[in-house]
Structures are given as structure tokens and as C-alpha cells.
């Protein structure tokens, strides 16, 4: 449950990046997962460089994040400027394919810089567990999880404030509703779109740094799966809707963690043997194995995505449906 919540917060922050960009230019920015990956990699490099200095661990991780954010902002800005802006008035399919292309380009740039190996984060933060119950086996939350949840919640709150309380925020909402008329109001639409990409990328940067610290590993292809799951989360909540992205992200994290934790038990071959024929041999050979173990965890996100698209294409909190595909 706690694992799911932590994961869910990360998905929510990444999903916000997808949904913001979609809301304003109706583009699914498939390269967003790669921005998260680059954030993770930059944070990794900084943390490795600073680890021997003996600074307090949270300062080092903070420095990693502080470096990742501007790096990703620059990437987000450049991607919009170079790849998407020239296609602003092209048919919807062209920028979508471009987004996939950008994602591949970014992956391979990262491959050149950080190698194709799985790289391990130095474990500089000493893991501390806080138990909810009195016993050692009760549910626990670690200091890293607390930090991730707190950072995510703060960022989500900050984003909502930005969108609903500032001049830039109202310009963003106006642009998403009617870009042409927004221009007539004196809003520089291109700047607003740039700002949206940059803000989304900075959220992605922090998410990337958090993922790296949490799992302790990074890889140049990590952004693909993470991005797809966060995208599914955004669709689950209703793409284009900020609150929906938060809800979808948290649900997605919970589904994945609980699915990984419990579906395996439910589909244990010995348990199935009692209800269905044909499992007895497997049960005797390996009583521990199950039909859908925790290694199926990545599947759940996509089962959810498919179910949402079939039964509620506009998402949980989505309202606008119709010609926007």
C-alpha cells in the first residue's frame, strides 16, 4: 500500500507533464518519459560526483535534483522549439509520430552519454523504516518514501496554484481553450506553450531523480515504460485534466503495487488446482509458483489503460469527448 502510494505519486507527477501538454496543444508528448529518464541520469551524475565529498545525503540528492531540473527544462524547451513548433498547424498525426521520433533520439543521446549499462545509484541515504504497528513485521514506510510523497504533494500543490492563481496560469488555461482568441487578448501563445513544456519537463526532472533514488538504478530505456505507465495514468484520470492526472497516477501506483503483491497469491498454482483441473502436476513440481506473479506487474497498467479506453474513453474525471483523438 505504501509502496503503491509512493509509486503513485511519481506517476502522478509524470502524468501531470503529459496532461498539461495535451491540454494546451492536444499533443501526446511521447518524449516526456525520456525527459524523466534524462532527469534521472543528470541527478545520478551529480550524486556520483558529490558522493565522496561527505556532504549530508539529502543535500547531495537535492543538488542532483537542482541540476536535473534546469537540464530537463532546456530539453523540454528545445524539443518543443525544434520538433513540435514547426508542425503546430500540421495534421494531428505528424507531431505524434515526431514525438515518438524525439523519444528515440533522446534515448540514444542518453545512450551515448551514460552508456547502455544499467547504472546503480550510490546508496547514500541510509534507509530508515518507520513502522505503523509495534511489531517489526507491521506495515512500514521508509524515509525515502516519505520524502518522495512529500515532494510530490508539494509539487502538485505548487502546480495547481500556478495554474489557478497566476497570470501565466490563466494564460495557459485560456490558450488551451481557444489559442486564437488567446492571441487576440495579447497573450503570446508561443511563449505560453514553451512555458508549458518547460514546467512539465521540470516536474519530470524531479520525478526522474526520485525514481532513481527510490529504485537505486537507472537505464537509458527506463523512460519508455515509466512514460507509458504515466500516460496510462493520465488517460485513466481523463487526459487534459490536472486533478485527473493526480488521481490516475495514484490509482495506477496502487494498482501496480497491490497487483504485484496479491495477484500472485490469488493465482498460485496450488490454489488454482483446487478449482480447476490440470494444475496438480505443476503444483507438485513447484508449489510456490503462480500464474501471474509479481513479474507481471507491468501488465496491470496496460490492462487498466485498455479497460478505460473501452468503458470510459474520456477518463474518470474527463468531460470533453468527441473529435479529439
Amino acid at each position: 500500500m505504501v509502496n503503491g502510494l509512493t509509486l503513485g505519486c511519481v506517476y502522478a507527477v509524470v502524468a501531470l507533464g503529459y496532461t498539461m501538454v495535451y491540454g494546451i496543444v492536444q499533443l501526446i508528448n511521447f518524449a516526456h518519459g525520456e525527459v524523466v529518464m534524462i532527469g534521472c541520469m543528470v541527478a545520478f551524475s551529480v550524486i556520483v560526483a558529490l558522493a565522496p565529498t561527505g556532504l549530508p545525503p539529502f543535500v547531495i540528492v537535492g543538488a542532483g535534483i537542482a541540476a536535473a531540473v534546469p537540464a530537463c527544462m532546456a530539453v523540454g524547451f528545445a524539443v518543443e522549439r525544434i520538433a513540435y513548433r514547426p508542425l503546430r498547424n500540421a495534421p494531428r498525426l505528424a507531431p505524434l509520430i515526431t514525438a515518438i521520433g524525439v523519444s528515440i533520439v533522446l534515448q540514444h543521446l542518453a545512450l551515448l552519454v551514460w552508456s547502455r549499462n544499467i547504472i546503480a545509484f550510490p546508496q547514500i541515504i541510509e534507509l530508515k523504516l518507520f513502522h505503523f504497528g509495534s511489531s517489526e513485521t507491521s506495515a512500514a514506510i521508509s524515509n525515502i518514501q516519505i520524502a518522495i510523497i512529500a515532494t510530490s504533494v508539494a509539487m502538485m500543490a505548487g502546480l495547481l496554484l500556478l495554474v489557478y492563481r497566476t497570470r501565466l496560469g490563466i494564460a495557459m488555461r485560456a490558450t488551451s481553450q481557444n489559442p486564437q482568441v488567446a492571441g487576440l487578448m495579447g497573450i503570446d501563445v508561443n511563449r505560453v506553450i514553451s512555458a508549458t513544456f518547460v514546467i512539465g519537463a521540470s516536474l519530470g526532472a524531479v520525478a526522474g531523480a526520485m525514481v532513481g533514488t527510490y529504485y537505486g538504478i537507472a537505464h537509458y530505456q527506463m523512460g519508455f515504460l515509466l512514460g507509458l505507465k504515466a500516460f496510462s495514468a493520465a488517460v485513466l484520470g481523463g487526459i487534459g485534466n490536472l486533478a485527473g492526472a493526480v488521481l490516475g497516477g495514484i490509482l495506477m501506483g496502487l494498482i501496480e503495487a497491490l497487483g504485484a503483491g496479491y495477484v500472485g497469491d490469488f493465482t498460485n498454482v496450488c490454489l488454482l488446482d483446487r478449482f480447476l483441473p490440470g494444475f496438480s502436476a505443476v503444483c507438485e513440481a513447484s508449489p510456490e509458483s503462480s500464474l501471474f506473479g509479481s513479474n507481471y506487474k507491468d501488465v496491470y497498467a496496460f490492462i487498466v489503460l485498455i479497460l478505460v479506453l473501452v468503458f470510459r474513453p474520456s477518463g474518470l474525471l474527463g468531460e470533453r469527448v468527441g473529435d479529439r483523438a
Partner: protein, 235 residues
């Protein structure tokens, strides 16, 4: 010097010339209307002035050629458009829509005073100030679109078909306000299919046909022009 002068303005959409070289002048403080049938190029002309459509020729505003400038740059020079179909922001409230109109301004007190003024012109908007614009009727949205344009304190106000799709009573109300704004000295260029109403409210008028100006002059004279009467006033 005229506030606005179009010199041989052309607009192409793909291979089609929607506006084929028109000359048009709006003097400081006057209400000029542009009438013509569907597809004559009226809306396109306004889109050219506001930078929404790419135009050839010269568009001289306040002594400066603004052809080719971006819509937000033109808006900041003091030209406001009430677009065809109203173009309110459906998910913003009335108040937020009005605030968008004042986006380029930072004088808070004067903005608040102007919001009050819009609410005096259109009391209905005040009743619904916290409602989202998409939930209002067409006439109320038209009021909002006009109010929003006034919030920028425009030096030149362009109105595109303000009577379109509205009930007769609402059309009356909208034109009352247009005359009131004109009497306060706001320069306006009005595009309208309801030629009689437009000509009665305006000082001068241009008649546009297939992308060309075919007639122009005092609005009162055009009202009695046999050609205009036959083609646009249904007589």
C-alpha cells in the same frame, strides 16, 4: 491621419484569393461598417487586420504598417476584436473572461473600474459573474465577448457579426450598446450581415463583394442607394 488604413490588402487561403486588394479607411472616432454577402471576405478582412490571417499589401494603423505582425503584438497596440462566433473561453468564469480582456494591462484599480462599467452596460453579466461562460446563452456570450474586448480599452474595436444567431430583442440590446460605445468616442469597424441595422448605426460604410470593395460612402447615402436596397436590404 487615419487611425486605420488598408492599402491594396490581399489574403490568400491556399490557392484561393479571399480578399483581392481592398482599400479601406477608418478615421479616429468614427463607426464604419463593412457589409456584404456570405463569403464576400468581411471576416477575412478583420482576420488580416488582427494578424490571424497572413495579408499582402499595407495595413497602416496609427502611422505604422502592422501587416505581418503577430496577433498578440497587434492586440497590445490597442486593436481588439470581438470574433465571429464570440470566442469566449467556455471553461473560464465571466470574471475570468473579462480579466483575460485586460491581460495586457496592469493598472488594477482602473481594471476593476472597467469591470464595473461592463457590468453596468450588461447587468446580466454581473448576475452570472462566477458562472462559466460556456453555460450562458448565445446573447449573453456576445455581451461577454464585447465586454471582454472593452476591457483592453481598445483604440480600435473590431466587431464581427455581433448579431449572428441572436434573438431580435437581443440584437436590439447589442446594437444599443454599440451605439453607446460609439458615442463615447471608441473607433469601431463593424462587420455585419444585418445591413440595415449596421448602416443605421454607422457613419460610413463599405460594401464588399467577392473580395472587392464595390461601393463605399456615407452610411445614410448607402441606405438610399437603389443597388444596396435591392441587394442587401431586401427591397
Amino acid at each position: 491621419m487615419s487611425l486605420l488604413a488598408l492599402e491594396n490588402v490581399e489574403v490568400h487561403y491556399g490557392g484561393i484569393r479571399a480578399v483581392k486588394g481592398i482599400d479601406l479607411v477608418v478615421e479616429q472616432g468614427e463607426l464604419v461598417c463593412l457589409i456584404g454577402a456570405n463569403g464576400a471576405g468581411k471576416t477575412t478582412t478583420l482576420r488580416a487586420i488582427t494578424g490571424l490571417a497572413h495579408a499582402g499589401g499595407r495595413i497602416v494603423y496609427d502611422g505604422e504598417d502592422i501587416a505581418g505582425a503577430k496577433p498578440h503584438e497587434i492586440a497590445r497596440k490597442g486593436i481588439a476584436l470581438v470574433p465571429e462566433g464570440r470566442g469566449v473561453f467556455p471553461q473560464l468564469t465571466i470574471e475570468e473572461n473579462l480579466a483575460m480582456g485586460a491581460y495586457t494591462r496592469s493598472d488594477r484599480q482602473a481594471i476593476a473600474a472597467d469591470v464595473d462599467r461592463v457590468f453596468t452596460l450588461f447587468p446580466r453579466l454581473k448576475e452570472r459573474r462566477r458562472q462559466t461562460a460556456g453555460t450562458m446563452s448565445g446573447g449573453e456570450q456576445q455581451m461577454l465577448a464585447i465586454g471582454r474586448a472593452l476591457m483592453s480599452r481598445p483604440r480600435l474595436l473590431l466587431l464581427d457579426e455581433p448579431s449572428m444567431g441572436l434573438a431580435p430583442l437581443m440584437v436590439e440590446r447589442i446594437f444599443e450598446v454599440i451605439r453607446l460605445i460609439a458615442s463615447e468616442g471608441v473607433t469601431m469597424l463593424l462587420v455585419e450581415q444585418n445591413a440595415r441595422l449596421a448602416l443605421e448605426a454607422s457613419r460610413r460604410a463599405y460594401v464588399l463583394e467577392s473580395g472587392l470593395v464595390t461601393l463605399s460612402g456615407e452610411a445614410s447615402a448607402l441606405l438610399h442607394d437603389p443597388q444596396v436596397r435591392q441587394a442587401y436590404l431586401g427591397e
